[in-house]
Structures are given as structure tokens and as C-alpha cells.
Amino acid sequence: MLTPFKRPSVLPGFWPAFSYTALYLTVIVLIPLSAVFLKAVSSSWEHLWKAISAPNVVASYRLSFGASLVAGLISVVVGFLVAWVLVRYEFPGKALADALVDLPFALPTAVAGIALTSLYTENGWVGRYLTPLGIKVAFTPLGVVVALTFIGLPFVVRSVQPVLADADRELEEAAASLGATRRQIFWRVILPIVRPALFTGFALALARALGEYGSVIFISGNLPMKTEITPLLIVSKLEQYDYAGATAIAAVMLIASFALLLGVNALQRRTRRFMETE
């Protein structure tokens, strides 16, 4: 029998491994997710449409996706920088700095939210210097971005770091000896190597930011139409016993997130193919 997706391999055990993967994905991922959709469609279409298209819900999509994208991009730039410093330089306290990167993973997000809010309110340590400049962070969309950047950063650093550590420095030296400028070396040698890792980090940070709840609700202020994130509205619907409405919004979020992540992955594959052909 010809199995179109089985490639010859020196290691046996394709079918058990494949079956296990399929089973795992079904039990752990697909069943809970389909429960969301089933619960949602238990109500009338009219009610569902109303729930997912209400002005405050639409405003929350804008904030949730917008802030997550912005925070993901910031994480990519800053995370690359951090990874670069951690890989390429030796400095006292490097092990400590390296460990610090993981802290946002470990911290309960509510704690992070409370800490950030205390820092950035009008009379907080940071906020009091920003307020005279007319910059308000806490209780504005900017605060949401700050919180999402905080939790997103380690994803990028940890994705890029090993790739950067593996990258051959000789390639850079060869480029330099062939007369490439520093800028060219960065854009044409280093970036292509880490680009897939940057995409992975971005996708992870984005996914995490879209689902983030704990840290954001403290700093966002939760004002309808202005600073309500979509997960908050889902919780708020539940508090009003509107299970169908809550799951409908959750389903919209799921589909949109899935599409976004598919897009990011497709981009990543294209850049990789581009590298392979070059």
C-alpha cells in the first residue's frame, strides 16, 4: 500500500507515533475546542450575531488584536536585541540576566498586572514622570501594550537565542572579507539566519497576548468601548449567565487567532524556502 505522507526513515515506528499525535491533538486540543463551538451554536443565530457584533465587542477585537500585534512587533525588535547581547557578549551578571528573561513566564500574570499598574498610574514610580509629559499609560490602550510586551518578550528571546548561538561567525567574517558593509552583513547574513526564529517568537508572543487576561485587566481600566479586551467581555458575558454569547465571542477569537497564526506560519515557511533556494 502506498502511503503518500510516509517517507522512508531509518527509525521505525511511524504509525504508532502518528496515531499518538492524532489522538493527543484530538483529546487535548480538538475536543475542548469543539465544545466551545457546540456550546455557541446551542443558541439562535440572531442572538449569536448580536453577541459578536455589538459595538463594544467589535471595539474590543480592535484593541485585543491591535495591541497584541503591536506588542508582538515590539517584542520581536527588543527580544532580538536581548538575545543578541546574551549570545554575543560576555559581561558580569550575564547568567543572572539570562535567568531574568524567563521571569515573566513564571510570574502569575495577575501579579505582573498589579505591579505594572502600580508603576504606571499617575502617582506610580514611572507614571509620575510620564504624566507631566502628557503620557498616560495605566488605564489606556498603551497600558495594554505595555502588559502584553512584558509577557511576550521571553518568547522571542528564547526562540532566537539558540539559533543565534548556532550561527556560524565565519559567515560574517567571510562577508566582511568580501567587502560587505556592516549594514549588509546584518541584513543579508544575520537576519536571514534568525528570521524563521523571529517569526516563531512573534507567533508565540502574539498567541499568548491574544489570550492574556490576568495582567491586562488590572492595567487596562476596563472602560467600555475604550479599554475592554475581548477576554474580559467573555468573562463579563459569563457573569451575566450568557453562556452562548460568551462562547460565540470565544469562537470568533479562536478563528481569528487561528487564521493569524496560520498566516504567520505561512510567512515563516516562505522565508525558509527562500533561504533554501538561495
Partner: protein
């Protein structure tokens, strides 16, 4: 049946305990009653032991009133519920049919052994000179209150402000909506629950005035110190009636109906009333109140039934999706 495993676990637990002797009650309550029921439970257990010779242990569960009601609907095994507003117990009756719809008529005073009201907590020295509702809508005054869609306490605050404006403008509904809209323009952050708002105001130092349950305000005053905050009682406010009820079906299943009823009746007894007053609830008994003179300033109080036609109506008109609260925030349909 999504609750089956939990029910089996609870039954097994229940029968194990039954064999061991002491009766177990679970009281599912809202946020600021933690201290009150600790005291009540100890006193009731003592009285029950003296009366029947049996031991009773009462567990407490606390959280936002709406969230607690939802937990009971989803299968939390509450023998009694003591929640922040009648609407939440109505929801349990409506969505899970665990108790009859007329539950509120089964105990005296609308099934509310104590009442409370909404007062203002301000910073020491009251720098913004806040004395009554009118001061809350002044420009430059920052008001802290949770989101009424998710917090029971916040719904009382919202209706208190609305009621004040109604009374002041001879029942003009338009003017009341204007007033409440102006008030919420002064709200910089909407936390999801009462405790969250208290933290925002007290710990993070945000806002000039916190709209709060009277008992919660006094607790905050004790905790933060009289050198930090003051309680201001407005001349007029809402009579907040947090009700109690036996959850019939769950109590019947546990065989705790009798003790659950006695537990709630104990709240109405002189001893229960005094513990309520001690914990800053306005007891129904004048005798209990008299033990704490000067604690509860006299003010004009109106009820939800008087001005809003009951909780079901108030909820529908003001807090449902597409209701007046949404309109205030520009969430038009």
C-alpha cells in the same frame, strides 16, 4: 451530564462525613461577608450543639456575588446562599431550578436579615469636599466604582446614584440618566468586583472617592487607619438588601434542610442580629442597633422595589446588554 463526577464525589464525601457524625453545611456568600459569617458560624454551631447535641461545621465560600451564583448553577454544592442581591438568587432559581421562584417570601423582611447601604470613602481630610451625590459629578473629581455588569455592589451604587437624581428632579428619568452619565464620566477605571475597586482606591491611591458598601467602607477604614481615609454618609442612598436562602434541592440531597433553615433563622435571632451590627451591617432589630450607637448615621433610604420596580426590571433596563449602562458608554445598538 457534566456535573456527574462532581456530584458523585460530593455524595461520597457527604456519606463519609455523615458516617463520621458532624453535619456539614456550605454557605456560598459574596465578597465582604467573610468576617461576618466566621463569627455567625461559630455562634450558630455552639447554639445548635446546645439545642440538639449534634455537631455542625459550616464552610464558607466567597467571591463576587454574580460569580458565586454561577458556581452554584454550575454545580457548587451550596446548602445555603447568602448573596449580594436578590437578582443573583433569582438566577439560581431561574437557570438551575434549585429553589422555587418565590424563595424571597419564605423569610421575614424579603429574606434579608440585615441591610446595608452605599456610602463614600474619601481620603483623609476630604480634600475634594465630597459630602453628597452632587459632588461626585463635579469636574476634577475622580470616582472609583466597579463595573455594574459584573459586580453586585456596583449595581447598588449605580441605582443609588440614579435614585438620588430621581428624587432630586421629581422623578425625571431623563435627568437621572444625565446625572449618572456625568458620574461615570468621572470614573477612570472599572474593576470587575468590589474588592478590586477597594484595592484600586486604597492600595494604588487612585481616585478621590470610592463608592462602597457601608460595611466594606468600615472594614477598609479599620484596615487602612483613620489617618488615611474617612467614611462619608450621603443624606440619601439606597437600602441595599443582601438576601439569604436555603437551596432546597441541594439541602434535601444532603439531608441538611432542617439545619440549613435553622442556620438562616439564627441570623434573625437577637444574637445573630447583634453579630450583624457588630460587623457593620444594619441589623433589623432595634435592640441590636442600639448597642452600637453613632455607628449607623441616619439617612433617607429608598428601595429597589420603590424606585425601580424590583431587581428583575432594574437588571433588564439598566444592566443587560444594550441597556442604559451600555448607552452611557456609547455602546449603542
Amino acid at each position: 451530564m457534566k456535573h456527574t463526577p462532581r456530584m458523585i464525589a460530593a455524595l461520597m464525601l457527604g456519606s463519609a462525613l455523615f458516617a463520621a457524625g458532624p453535619v456539614k453545611l456550605l454557605n456560598v456568600s459574596y465578597d465582604p461577608t467573610r468576617e461576618l459569617y466566621q463569627e455567625i458560624n461559630a455562634a450558630f454551631a455552639k447554639q445548635w450543639k446546645a439545642k440538639t447535641g449534634a455537631d455542625v461545621t459550616i464552610s464558607q465560600s466567597h467571591g463576587g456575588s454574580g460569580k458565586q451564583a454561577r458556581s452554584v448553577i454550575d454545580g457548587l454544592q451550596a446548602d445555603v446562599v447568602t448573596l449580594g442581591l436578590a437578582y443573583d438568587i433569582d438566577s439560581i432559581a431561574e437557570h438551575a431550578h434549585l429553589l422555587p421562584a418565590n424563595w424571597q417570601t419564605r423569610l421575614p423582611n424579603n429574606s434579608t436579615p440585615y441591610t446595608s447601604t452605599i456610602v463614600f470613602l474619601v481620603r483623609k481630610g476630604n480634600p475634594k469636599h465630597i459630602g453628597d451625590w452632587e459632588d461626585l459629578v463635579k469636574p476634577g473629581v475622580s470616582v472609583i466604582t466597579p463595573n455594574p455588569k459584573t459586580s453586585g455592589g456596583a449595581r447598588w451604587s449605580y441605582l443609588a446614584a440614579w435614585g438620588y437624581a430621581l428624587k432630586k428632579n421629581n422623578g425625571d428619568d431623563k435627568k437621572a440618566e444625565e446625572f449618572v452619565t456625568r458620574l461615570y464620566r468621572n470614573v477612570p477605571v472599572l474593576d470587575s468586583g468590589a474588592r478590586g475597586s477597594t484595592t484600586t482606591f486604597a492600595q494604588r491611591g487612585i481616585g478621590d472617592v470610592l463608592l462602597s458598601w457601608e460595611n466594606e467602607a468600615f472594614l477598609a477604614l479599620n484596615e487602612l487607619g483613620k489617618d488615611k481615609v474617612e467614611v462619608i454618609t450621603p443624606a440619601i442612598s439606597i437600602l441595599a438588601e443582601p438576601p439569604v436562602a436555603v437551596v432546597d434541592k441541594i439541602a434535601a440531597k444532603h439531608g441538611t434542610t432542617e439545619v440549613a433553615k435553622a442556620y438562616l433563622e439564627f441570623l434573625y435571632s437577637e444574637e445573630g442580629q447583634e453579630i450583624g451590627a457588630k460587623n457593620y451591617y444594619r441589623a433589623r432589630s432595634a435592640q441590636a442597633l442600639a448597642k452600637y450607637p453613632n455607628r449607623f448615621p441616619a439617612l433617607q433610604l429608598f428601595t429597589v422595589d420603590e424606585l425601580f420596580g424590583g431587581w428583575q426590571k432594574a437588571q433588564k433596563r439598566h444592566f443587560e446588554d444594550g441597556g442604559v449602562f451600555d448607552r452611557i458608554y456609547g455602546v449603542g445598538r
